[in-house]
Amino acid sequence: MSALTREETEALIQEVLEVYPEKAKKDREKHLAVNDQSIEQSKKCITSNRKSLPGVMTIRGCAYAGSKGVVWGPIKDMIHISHGPVGCGQYSRAGRRNYYVGTTGVNTFGTMNFTSDFQEKDIVFGGDKKLAKLIGEIEQLFPLNKGISVQSECPIGLIGDDIEAVSKKAAKEIDKPVVPVRCEGFRGVSQSLGHHIANDAIRDWVLPRREGKAFEGTPYDVAVIGDYNIGGDAWSSRILLEEMGLRVVAQWSGDGTIAEMEKTPYVKVNLIHCYRSMNYIARHMEEKYNIPWMEYNFFGPTKVAESLRAIAALFDDKIKEGAERVIAKYQPLMQAVIDKYKPRLQGKRVMLYVGGLRPRHVIGAYEDLGMEVVGTGYEFGHNDDYDRTIKDMGNATLLYDDVTGFEFEEFVKRVKPDLVGSGIKEKFIFQKMGVPFRQMHSWDYSGPYHGYDGFAIFARDMDMTLNNPCWGKMQAPWLKKPEAEVEKKAA
């Protein structure tokens, strides 16, 4: 099927909206749009970061997911207490595959679940005593932890526990940072507010800890911010930066440590990969510590080269030379990858629906493989994300914010993309519909996808999924035969 025209796409949106009641239709209408590159500000065409409509299937998470799951969770040498009932921590445990180096349970705790396991009596009488006891136990059982964060679940805010007071007292007792994070799940409309709350907690409780202490810096110090090392992403990014001569002081927060975060105010530039979840802290550091920040994109060789040059432009000639050297070194390798996979993937069409950064960041990587992104949308993006997306997407392509299960299915049925990239909740619906699907949150248990090394894996995975022979065998053989005969008879 050829690409839809602007009118057809508009008609498609109207058709999908048809089934909603009047009020719901009015609400959802604002979240669906046809891309128009001439628009400067996304506000004019799409509404985002609004409360999801009750009664429809949304794919969003909660503030606790944003704070514990995304921002704090990957800090490997801290223990993150899921403070509240046991489920939130257990069901989100290690699900994001934030890789790290270390011995789990000894000096790193990334894949473990620590919870205060609230019972009825804790809700009635308050859980502060339990929290204090829990921190004491953690200190005894895991003495090599470098700090503790208290990630509130919904009941903490509802019953009004004073986790700040407990944390302050415990921090003095164990002489380690204990960070209370007020990320109760009911705050905000999606995980996005959780990111913000987590950023604010880092700003208030972590960054000031090393102020005024000695730091042996170099003029080439940078921090990688907003890379969660999913499947090793931060590692394949970091080696490129180091190869061009920069010194990566801190990784936020994939494979990161609290010591790295404390040292971040001494770097020369903050490099932001996930703008949505970490721009708050970058803006804070720009104001308070005078550290400039820039966004970069390490998906696909074109964007990597562009980003490496843009990063190098902030430094002296030595780094600029280094960037060119790195690009030249990987260029033939990447050309080989493209030569191998492009013929198999050329012209295929992709629909994306991911979180807060990939809906626009991976477009370049698909384009490097000759593929086209025909629809994209964010679970929890804000206006500024859509501002940036509009430029990256082709004209008359679909934009959908906080898409509902129904809308997404209908869009895929009508647009008929060759590949859908989204999360685990969408995966099996589309696979059962016979549409090739890749998880773009967890890289479908593959990865890394960042950097040059990541692109080779990305290309292989896309080919593996799209050209899998199983898609031609969606019908049971005993159902297929009669049909063929019917056709013969008809002919």
């Binding site: 400067e40 500000q41 506000k43 970061n49 708050y280 803006r283 720009e286 104001e287 005078n290 804000h382 206006n383 500024d384 501002d387």
Partner: protein
């Protein structure tokens, strides 16, 4: 009153950022722009208009300020 941030821009001298609304826009005009008196009415590229209390120009940007909305774009 809203918390805003004013930064240096690439296209224009200043960029306006309103975190609550994710609004990041160039400032096309500022009523006072001298070292002694700085601020007043500021006009944004999208047509919005805000007021910040005139003050001595900040030594360093970006800076967080309180601003009054006079006329928003929407």
């Amino acid at each position: 009153m809203a918390n805003i941030m004013i930064q240096r821009g690439s296209k224009t001298e200043y960029v306006f950022y309103l975190p609550k609304r994710d609004l990041e826009d160039d400032i096309v005009s500022m009523e006072f722009n001298t070292p002694e008196k700085w601020g007043g009415e500021i006009k944004l590229n999208n047509g919005g208009c805000y007021y910040i209390e005139p003050q001595a120009a900040p030594a360093r940007l970006p800076i967080s300020l309180r601003a009054k909305r006079l006329d928003a774009a929407e």
